[in-house]
């Protein structure tokens, strides 16, 4: 429990520091935030597909299906808003570093099976949502300029916090 919390905290701190460094004094732009948030959703969808391929546990599969449904819906809403604003999300080093970390994590998870996979997937989902939520709440929402975009990030944060609570249950169920 303590170990997991420390890992999550370290992960979040590293990511926040990284963002601050990359973004300079002004904070990330809306189009960078949009790219990072979209990427973070895509990453969770990929973890979920891995779970559906590797797990027979109904609780794990149900959780993974919810992640695919919800992150797809939030990402579609983000694309809809970008379209309406005539804007395009901007690739950036934070998005690329998230993708790299996720690829490493997926390789780690792929090597597991059965209950060991279920437990590792659940713990990663909890840590990942904690990290994403902290970043959205403490960095992205304060930095967002466009009001509609800020509101969408608020909706996303609410959704991901519910996922975090759901992931906490899943960790208990797969222990």
């Amino acid at each position: 429990m303590l170990r997991r919390a420390m890992i999550a905290a370290a992960f979040a701190a590293a990511a926040l520091t990284g963002l601050a460094v990359q973004a300079g004094d002004e904070g990330p732009s809306d189009l960078e935030i949009a790219h990072i948030a979209y990427t973070a959703g895509e990453i969770d969808i990929r973890y979920a597909h891995l779970a559906l391929a590797l797990s027979d546990n109904p609780a794990v599969r149900g959780f993974a299906e919810t992640m695919i449904r919800d992150h797809s819906a939030v990402n579609d809403a983000a694309l809809g808003l970008l379209d309406k604003l005539g804007a395009k999300a901007r690739d950036n080093p934070t998005s690329r570093s998230l993708l790299k970390q996720a690829a490493e994590k997926r390789a780690e998870l792929k090597a597991l099976s059965g209950a060991a996979f279920d437990r590792a997937y659940a713990e990663n989902e909890l840590a990942y949502h904690q990290f994403v939520n902290k970043t959205v709440e403490e960095v992205f929402i304060p930095a967002a300029d466009n009001e509609e975009f800020k509101a969408l990030l608020g909706t996303a944060l609410k959704t991901f916090k519910i996922h975090q609570a759901h992931a906490e249950r899943l960790v208990e169920q797969t222990r």
């Binding site: 919810t66 819906a73 939030v74 909706t155 609410k158 519910i162």
Partner: protein, 105 residues
């Protein structure tokens, strides 16, 4: 004409709720991954309509398995006529933290 209309209205009222006037429709919004309101009081014979105001899908699913909306996409509506008295607990099958209760009397 007017007499026919009276007859129709009286007949409808009689058919739906014999004891206490007209059946009502209650709206429950699914918004921000919550049922709003999470708890409602209804009369037997009333209709409850769930409206999904979120961008992601939800369900309204009886905890005892007796009814289920199935997947409700963004903007979808689903209605249920309440036929039995008592407290009806329900959840969203996708989001276990999303719970509600209908008190029917």
């Amino acid at each position: 004409m007017r007499r026919a209309l009276y007859g129709l209205v009286a007949g409808l009222a009689y058919a739906s709720v014999p004891q206490t006037g007209e059946a009502e429709t209650h709206i429950i919004e699914m918004r921000g991954l919550e049922f709003i309101p999470a708890e409602i009081d209804v009369a037997v014979g009333d209709t409850v309509t769930w409206v999904n105001a979120d961008v992601m899908p939800h369900t309204a699913t009886a905890s005892d398995g007796s009814w289920d909306s199935g997947t409700m996409e963004a903007g979808d509506e689903w209605s249920l006529v309440i036929e039995t008295e008592g407290a009806l607990d329900y959840v969203c099958a996708f989001h276990p933290t999303m719970t509600g209760v209908i008190n029917a009397r």
